[in-house]
Symmetry: D2
Subunit: 378 residues, 4 copies
């Protein structure tokens, strides 16, 4: 209840930042999908701290062990359990957190909700929890490729850091251009200014926020379950479940609210025998269901709450006091948020693919090619 995500490809993450480790159980993975620990490690390495000069210097290898659910490098259809041991324990670095609530962190609300919290690091609210998500999503991506949409690409990128905005052309951006730089933006001109900004705020003991954009190409038509599990609704929930997120918009988003219907509507045209739209203000989703165009959404990340300046706060025995951040933290989470956004997008997509297969069978959707959507058996 709370740590479980997905209806059919159901993941349960577990683990605190300090304790035996973190991990995930995936219940509902289709059988006979190729899977090894190396498939998972690739994405964990993109998420881990200490990977570049602009991320936290904590250096955690985050080595994944598959404990169950595979046999001879194929999934069995049974639950896949993945374990990553915690290594970099320095509880002493956190002793002040035992006695004071860090501003704009989860310390106070966890204490108020549960009457207890693991104050050694962020505990359950640590971004370390996302290891389980990223590991599960590595499996999800294998399933998508093996069973549903081999050409599907999930391409998240850093769109802005503070007020510095990248210019990304959704039509041409590539994973290579995004992953080629340590900020993970697809705009070569933005790389250096963004790195400079992160270094500057870090040197000031400060932090900065930003926006991750995400493009998904070659999405099958027909994903999404009206009325509540609309594709954009599940994407919004997935993204807002990531630490430090404050907003989500798809397609035209907030800017679209200033347009008229005449400006905003996406016309339909036939193109190579397929139904296409001539613009994409819908962001690839109409009526809660993917229409085959690129999915495009944006996620707002607030500045890291840990800063190296004294701040007003209250103690755990409820008196006013002051706290100055310590420890090794990202001054900007955006570069490491990219694989997290990718993970949550993959988890939403695979779940909807399985749900669509359950409801409507394997025929694929009616897209103008003459294939029929709906039920496989008719």
């Amino acid at each position: 209840m709370g740590s479980t995500f997905g209806q059919l490809f159901q993941i349960s993450t577990w683990g605190e930042s300090h304790g035996g480790g973190v991990g995930v159980v995936v219940d509902g993975c289709p059988p006979r999908v190729p899977l090894t620990e190396a498939d998972i490690q690739i994405d964990l390495d993109r998420r881990r701290p200490g990977q570049s000069e602009i991320t936290t210097p904590r250096n955690e290898a985050d080595q994944a062990e598959i404990l169950s659910g595979t046999f001879e490098s194929l999934t069995l259809g049974s639950p896949i359990a993945i374990l990553v041991r915690n290594k970099d324990h320095r509880p002493e670095a956190y002793s002040e957190m035992r006695d004071k609530f860090r501003p704009s962190h989860a310390d106070y609300t966890y204490q108020a909700k549960y009457g207890i919290r693991n104050w050694q690091g962020g505990g359950r609210s640590s971004a370390r929890e996302t290891i389980g998500r990223v590991a599960a999503a590595a499996i999800a991506k294998k399933v998508i490729a093996a069973c549903f949409a081999p050409d599907l690409e999930i391409l998240p990128f850093v769109e802005s850091i503070g007020t510095i905005r990248a210019r990304i052309d959704p039509a041409t951006v590539t994973r290579e251009s995004i992953e080629s730089n340590i900020v993970r933006t697809g705009d070569p001109d933005a790389v250096e200014p963004m790195i400079d900004l992160i270094k500057q705020v870090r040197s000031e003991g400060n932090s900065v926020g930003g926006v991750v954009g995400c493009l998904i190409r070659n999405v099958p038509v027909g994903l999404g379950m009206p009325v509540f599990d609309r594709l954009e609704a599940d994407l919004a929930k997935a993204m807002l479940s990531l630490p430090a997120t404050k907003g989500f918009e798809i397609g035209s988003g907030f800017a679209g609210t200033e347009m008229t219907g005449r400006e905003h509507n996406d016309s339909f045209r036939m193109e190579d025998g397929r139904v296409r739209t001539t613009s994409n203000r819908s962001g690839g989703v109409q009526g809660g269901i993917s229409n085959g165009e690129d999915i495009l959404f944006r996620v707002a990340f607030k500045p890291t709450a840990t800063i190296m300046t004294a701040q007003d706060t209250v103690s755990t025995d409820y008196h006013d006091t002051e706290l100055k951040g310590r420890g090794r933290h990202d001054a900007c989470v955006l570069p490491r948020a990219v694989p997290m956004v990718e993970a949550m997008a993959a988890l939403v997509l695979v779940d909807h693919m399985l749900r669509q297969r359950a409801l409507c069978g394997n025929d694929g959707a009616e897209t103008g090619h003459g294939e029929k959507g709906g039920n496989a058996a008719r």
Copy 2:
């Protein structure tokens, strides 16, 4: 699967815009809560078309009948079924929709997904489906008041229409000031310009979008279930499940991404024996859990897709064609979106209240008053 919302206060809406009716079943409502049909009718009347000169002239009474789950005006603890008959059938008004997909509507994606659709009106994708949500939320609000938080107020309001923005002071805005005008904005100075804009776009056969803001006061500390069912994640999903929504942000939202941590963090201070924050960029939620401050979020609504101009589209036998909107539609959904946003917020809150009671008992949260959160029985 798709039409069910909530973990404990679980609602299942049903119904197409044309057919026997629309409604909802609420499974999981606590017993002995006072409830009559009048409680539900109040909110349905705020949602219904034809209520003012700026909404669609369709005039549907939307009379609610409680079919089960109450006895002598109290809830029984068994499922509450509510039925609203469809009245204003004019299938002939929709005959062109049988043969053509309306741009930026759900016609094409429904056809592609299911291989079939009810083309008489929007079918399941019609905003008429939200009747079930609003009815269920009327019950949710009774439960919140009777069992959990008598003082809690959910105050959604129209924040902008097109480029016209209202100025709302969260500290002082009242339900009366919002509901006193037909646009449902809390800023008296914005009322007339907003009405004028809606009338103007309507006269041009056009439409316009906008933003609904939502303020929730007197929220108990401790609501939200990390890590996936964070309160803001469930709110985001709830809002993005409403028709025509394109974005959600909470607290500082997208604007906060341009701030540094030093500017953005909310300091804690003791006030009247309670832990308070001196600013509220968090929007009332920290670490996925309510902190007792006002919850503040914003929802983006795109311009209505139905416009009275000829648009390019494709036919249901997949040829390029043209379509001109017909029928009676809202040129701007914002005023009627206000009770829908309110409904979804109430449904999220009541569900998390029940979940918190299940997990941690009734003691209430540790808020600095000396009460303890966590488990009731210790």
Copy 3:
């Protein structure tokens, strides 16, 4: 929470015996399945009271109305809501129930749990609630036939009433032989003794229990989701959720506990290119998964609690008192339990068929024919 059944073919029943009506919402029905009200009415007529001289003389037509989810006699893929109005209100017949708890009924436990109950008839605990299940199962059977297993037969029958046992040969029993008599047993020799017994206990103001057996033929191999949602586990839950049930056994059941493994094991043999078992003590399920043999299970129904003799009980203000049954009740529920058992079996099967299609695709199972189970896309 409590009134919802199924993971993918998810039904929510609602309604009390006295009130606006009873019904069901089916969320998760595949699209494009042929469905009319007549399909549902057939099974409701088999379930309804007053259908023969040995059932309760209450005469309720139980007319089903489909309120949503179909279009031109095909399912839409959206929720299907079904309403059956209550007709035979005679609250005065129940006034004594307001003040006294009926022995071995749900009156006391409902009052204790909820602090309130609808004392006019059985309220939510009435067998009238099963109308929603039977209606939903009529849809389930259409889905099974249209999408998964056209030849599948669910054949429940009365196996015993009191100490009178029918002799049924699973290999040859037919729906015609079962439905040709008002007791619904497949053994012609048992019909008259059973009818006589029911009439006799009724004339004495008494009641009698019995066992329903259920045979399911032509079951696809591969249904069931280890480890918790084993097919027999879901069948057991489904059956024990019916009113008046006290036991469930599959295959060899309790009798099998007295056997040795050598006697009990079902050998495998190839037959017409398919894997078959030479005996069927497993009852068609091995390791929680159907093996293609006939599924065979039995359900115990206790004698009807309402009897026309004075019994010791307590009043609703908690004093010892006495109560004599009144009203019109079945002296034996077995004949009407047959369609209820059929309904629950159909609901379990369709849900597992959808789940199997989600997990493993449409290829069908590996049964010795050379087809492969597992994932469709490999």
Copy 4:
């Protein structure tokens, strides 16, 4: 999907008999409940093989490690992950299973369903999977004691092995008398005959089944969620989800079907200010809800499928062949089934306690004491 159990106290077990290990994640455990690894180890030791001369000589220590969810020996309210490493790997003992399906085992159905199976031992269908259940239930029992019902006792016992039946008096049987002997029956006179029977069938390379009875004392009134999640329905599912089970009955069970209502009904009487029944044919549950009397149910276990005699079977390339059991197996699972039945009962109870607290608050039920059931806040 399949390996997850419970609505609020939700457990996900994972693991094959051969592989990295087995374990469980518990999502939904209340915070601040005392918990250490020793609490879990006690029950794992009762379940483990090699514990006595009549269980399999496999000697697995089954050492539990708590990986997350506790802090300073209290639960945190976050997911609790438990890992037990596999130790006794002897894949060579199983090589024949690669090529042949063992009769009355899950080999064939797993292969048919998933298109793949881990043939080294039982894989996912191994009773080793129940380690996760027993570990989770150890936590459940701590929660029941700490938060809900300190006096509640779950007392399962071996009621019969083959045709040897124990005589147990539910009023007086104690955990001590049950656990004092290696068969785990509460009847001292049955111990020796049962042990002799097990040794005899084992010496013959054969196996034998039996029945586990389960008594639950001091159950709160009001547990169970009509109509589908009736307490007996959830117990039935829980028990039938255990390996080798073939039947479940509660209270009068199948024997009660031969009684008349007059014989069968449980009269109510006031006793010490509480509503009691003068007999208990209901088995402690009426209308799907606990009535405060002892819960009494029985579970049928078939004889172990592995026997040391040649049996007809088919090969994995679908030809008739022969197989003789090998390896070290229990000739009778009953003694080790006792803690498994206890575990599943505890998991059902704790889930319904949390659900009841969610729905009706903490007031406790109306039992004649004058306390009120229903909603806490009125």
